[in-house]
């Protein structure tokens, strides 16, 4: 009991944001309900991004009905690599990455070969709403494959590493790089075993790396020293994150960015209920930073550059 109280005091001191406070004081207060569909549906957020001039992975096609599956599958055989996503999926559920077509099948990014039949069934599952919130009927997005920027290869086993930014009232407050590894089966979610690297907002350098809530020094599969990790084109990434927050109008937003070989910084997806593990990866709590931003007078009127300057000076 005493132990628990001490732990509680420690967390208070560190300013760790808990689930209840996140839901009530931040998501509930700063995110308007009517704006949720913009980010919950990847198709609308993609259209929004294209309008706002934010670069996104190329959209190869959308499947909206069962009978569209067969034709889409035929068309995909010509493609070198692509990615299937449920439009309303959350937490990376239902995403299937195909490297290239092989004899009578497709090669997945994790080396598994699947038949065209499997691919069609996966699309059918997505349409039926297997991966969507609340099981609502869904659509399949077919996106072009992203290619990892050479400066970051080696930090990720399978899949492209992505950068999660928490943008609060237009100000980036915390960042984390998520690296897939063998233990996470190519997935970039921390609770599935991916490596999380806390990134300093000031210069894009690694602060701390954790896997399964425990600090680590090297990437478990590639052996790269994670402390050397520095996100290239950091300023551009931050600007992109701010632009994304501005275009949605959400006050508390999780932005997932990638650095593509040809596109440069690109938007992967948006999240109106970003998780809290980013605090573990950074070794510090979100609350003090959020409070500093709340103390700003009218942050919305500041320009993107001013906001980034503020963030880099403070966090």
């Amino acid at each position: 009991m005493l132990n628990l109280l001490r732990e509680l005091k420690d967390l208070r001191k560190k300013g760790v944001l808990g689930m209840n406070r996140r839901n009530i004081s931040y998501i509930g207060r700063y995110n308007e309900r009517r704006l949720y569909p913009l980010v919950d549906n990847k198709l609308t957020s993609k259209r929004l991004a294209i309008e706002a001039g934010v670069s996104v992975p190329e959209l190869l096609g959308v499947v909206t009905s069962q009978h569209g599956i067969a034709t889409t599958e035929l068309a995909l055989r010509e493609q070198s690599g692509f990615c299937l996503k449920p439009a309303k999926g959350s937490g990376g559920k239902g995403i299937m990455v195909i490297r290239r077509g092989t004899e009578g099948g497709y090669l997945r990014s994790n080396g598994q070969v699947i038949s065209p039949e499997d691919l069609r069934r996966h699309m059918s599952n997505i349409l039926a709403g297997l991966f969507s919130l609340g099981g609502a009927p869904d659509q399949v997005l077919v996106e072009a494959l992203l290619e990892c920027d050479p400066s970051l290869t080696g930090y990720s086993h399978e899949g492209v590493p992505d950068l999660r930014l928490i943008v609060f009232q237009g100000v980036p407050v915390m960042a984390m790089m998520r690296l897939a590894c063998a233990a996470s089966h190519g997935k970039a979610n921390l609770h599935q075993g991916a490596v999380g690297v806390g990134i300093s907002i000031a210069d894009g350098r690694a602060v701390l790396a954790v896997q399964k809530d425990a600090p680590i020094k090297r990437h478990p599969d590639t052996g790269m020293d994670l402390r050397d990790l520095q996100v290239p084109r950091w300023q551009e990434m931050l600007e992109l994150g701010c632009n994304c927050a501005d275009m949605t109008g959400l006050g508390y937003l999780g932005v997932d960015l990638v650095l593509d070989k040809t596109l440069g910084p690109a938007l992967l997806e948006l999240n109106a209920r970003p998780g809290l593990s980013i605090q573990i990866a950074n070794g510090t709590g979100l609350l003090p930073r959020l409070r500093e931003v709340e103390a700003l007078r009218n942050p919305a009127r500041l320009s993107v550059t001013e906001r980034i300057a503020f963030a880099q000076a403070h966090f």
């Binding site: 560190k14 808990g18 069934r121």
Partner: protein, 482 residues
């Protein structure tokens, strides 16, 4: 409001310190045919262990009289003209008084005519009586041995029961052997029961004393919560001018202060007015269950907001807890695990068929029902009466649980399924333990104002921004930083 009820109405805070009163409500239903109607219902009198405190009737438009003919007491309703479905209520408050004994006199012996003809039934019945007489010493042992004989010679017993009920045969055979006996109708008192039926027992006399026998098991005596409803060899319900008559009983248990129980016999309605207590007993029994739901809901809110347990389906644990109350805990747990386990296997087959979502869940619902049917039959064949209670589970909820867990299994692996399934069961268990607690049951039922307290607590918790208990562990790495 709750305080007021305690102070002015003297409703006790805690159960158990008071006298126990059973309120029994008989509900007579029938179809009137537009003619004069006369309904006569047998009603019990003060008897061993139970003292009649008060009785009430609700019967709009009917004339009512309590008739004592001979030693039998009946409620008689009458009306000149009635049409369509009719419902009459008779309510009786029985005070439990373990020291009370009421003597009874033996009924006259009847000469059972159908034992004197030479039909195969008579021969077979008299044969059984002969072997029972040989093994018996007095009236009581004869009754016991006769029931035993019926249970041993299943074929003859089955043959006899085609003609008339076993209790009737037993009574006739005993009378034939010069033993005074009669059939009585017994009601088992169980708190919160609705639509209860009467059971037939056998009352056997020896001089001034009598004993009751269960004609099925041969068990002697009544359990403390059984009351004789009709025990004068009459019929329970007689109806003239109607058809499809039916009588069913609802029972609730109340604790009444000794003083009140004795003084306020007549008007205990006015005492407890403006409360659920003024409803018919059947509705009261229903509310006794419903008023417990907020307790379960509160547990869910506590566990999710303060502790941070993940459950599959927000209020599924409450529904599971409610069905545990019906089934008893162990049977419920075993049944739940069995159905969900087998359901997951079936569901994993269904996922190969790549069905649409609604169709898939419908298929799961149908298989859950099939499973429940199979398990019930197996349990019955094995003689496990407990197993038959599986039918009380909410099937649709179970199917959704299976569906969710199966998706969880595919996406996050079995670990997450056990975490959430375990979480749900844990919450259900806590909710069950609270909801079956006598004090909690007593408080929620007698103090409706507590619902507002629950509401306030839930609203308070809704604004709680502190850490969840499990978050302390999750973020403990952060705390140790310095």
């Amino acid at each position: 409001m709750t305080w007021l009820r305690h102070k002015t109405h003297d409703v006790p805070w805690l159960p158990g310190e008071k006298r126990q009163v059973w309120s029994v409500e008989a509900r007579v239903e029938f179809e009137a045919q537009g003619e004069p109607v006369k309904v006569s219902l047998a009603v019990p009198q003060t008897q061993t262990r139970f003292e009649r405190l008060a009785e009430y009737t609700a019967s709009p438009g009917y004339g009512l009289a309590f008739v004592e003919n001979g030693r039998e007491r009946r409620a008689e309703w009458s009306i000149r003209n009635a049409d369509g479905p009719q419902t009459l209520y008779y309510r009786l408050d029985l005070l439990v008084d373990p020291s009370l004994t009421v003597a009874d006199t033996a009924p006259p012996l009847e000469a059972p005519s159908n034992l004197f003809d030479d039909s195969p039934h008579a021969t077979s019945a008299l044969h059984m009586l002969d072997s029972a007489v040989e093994r018996s010493a007095d009236n009581f042992t004869l009754a016991r041995e006769l029931i035993l004989e019926f249970n041993l010679q299943k074929q003859s017993a089955g043959f006899l029961e085609q003609r008339q009920a076993r209790s009737r045969w037993l009574k006739q055979l005993l009378n034939y052997a010069q033993v005074p006996a009669r059939e009585v109708k017994v009601l088992t008192l169980e708190d919160g029961r609705r639509r209860q039926r009467l059971q037939t027992y056998l009352q056997v006399f020896q001089g001034e004393r009598y004993q009751l026998f269960d004609p099925r098991s041969g068990r002697v005596g009544l359990s403390p919560n059984q009351v004789m409803w009709e025990y004068r060899s009459g019929s329970v319900l007689e109806l003239i001018g109607g058809s499809q008559s039916d009588v069913s009983f609802s029972i609730i248990n109340q604790e009444i202060p000794v003083s009140q129980g004795l003084e306020k016999e007549g008007d205990h309605f006015s005492l407890l007015e403006f409360s659920i207590h003024s409803l018919p007993v059947e509705e009261q029994a229903l509310f006794k269950g419903i008023l417990l739901v907020p307790v379960g809901v509160l547990v869910v809110v506590l566990m999710r907001v303060l502790v941070g347990l993940r459950t599959s389906g927000t209020f599924m644990p409450v529904l599971i807890a409610l069905s545990f109350i019906q089934t008893s805990l162990l049977t419920g747990l075993a049944g739940f695990l069995l159905i969900v386990g087998v359901g997951l296997v079936i569901r994993s087959y269904l996922s190969h068929l790549s069905l649409l979502l609604v169709a898939r869940i419908s298929a799961v619902i149908i298989s859950v029902i099939a499973m429940v049917a199979v398990f019930t039959v197996i349990a019955y064949e094995l003689g496990l009466n407990e197993g038959m209670k599986i039918t009380l589970f909410p099937m649709i909820i179970l199917s959704w649980t299976i569906e969710r867990m199966s998706i969880l299994w595919e996406e996050e692996g079995p670990h997450e399924v056990f975490v959430q399934g375990g979480g749900s069961l844990l919450v259900a268990l806590i909710a069950y333990l609270l909801m079956t607690n006598d004090i909690v049951r007593h408080l929620t039922f007698n103090f409706i104002g507590l619902q507002l307290v629950f509401m306030a607590l839930v609203l308070l918790l809704g604004g709680y921004t502190g850490y969840r208990l499990l978050e302390l562990r999750r973020f403990s790495v952060l705390g140790k930083g310095d």
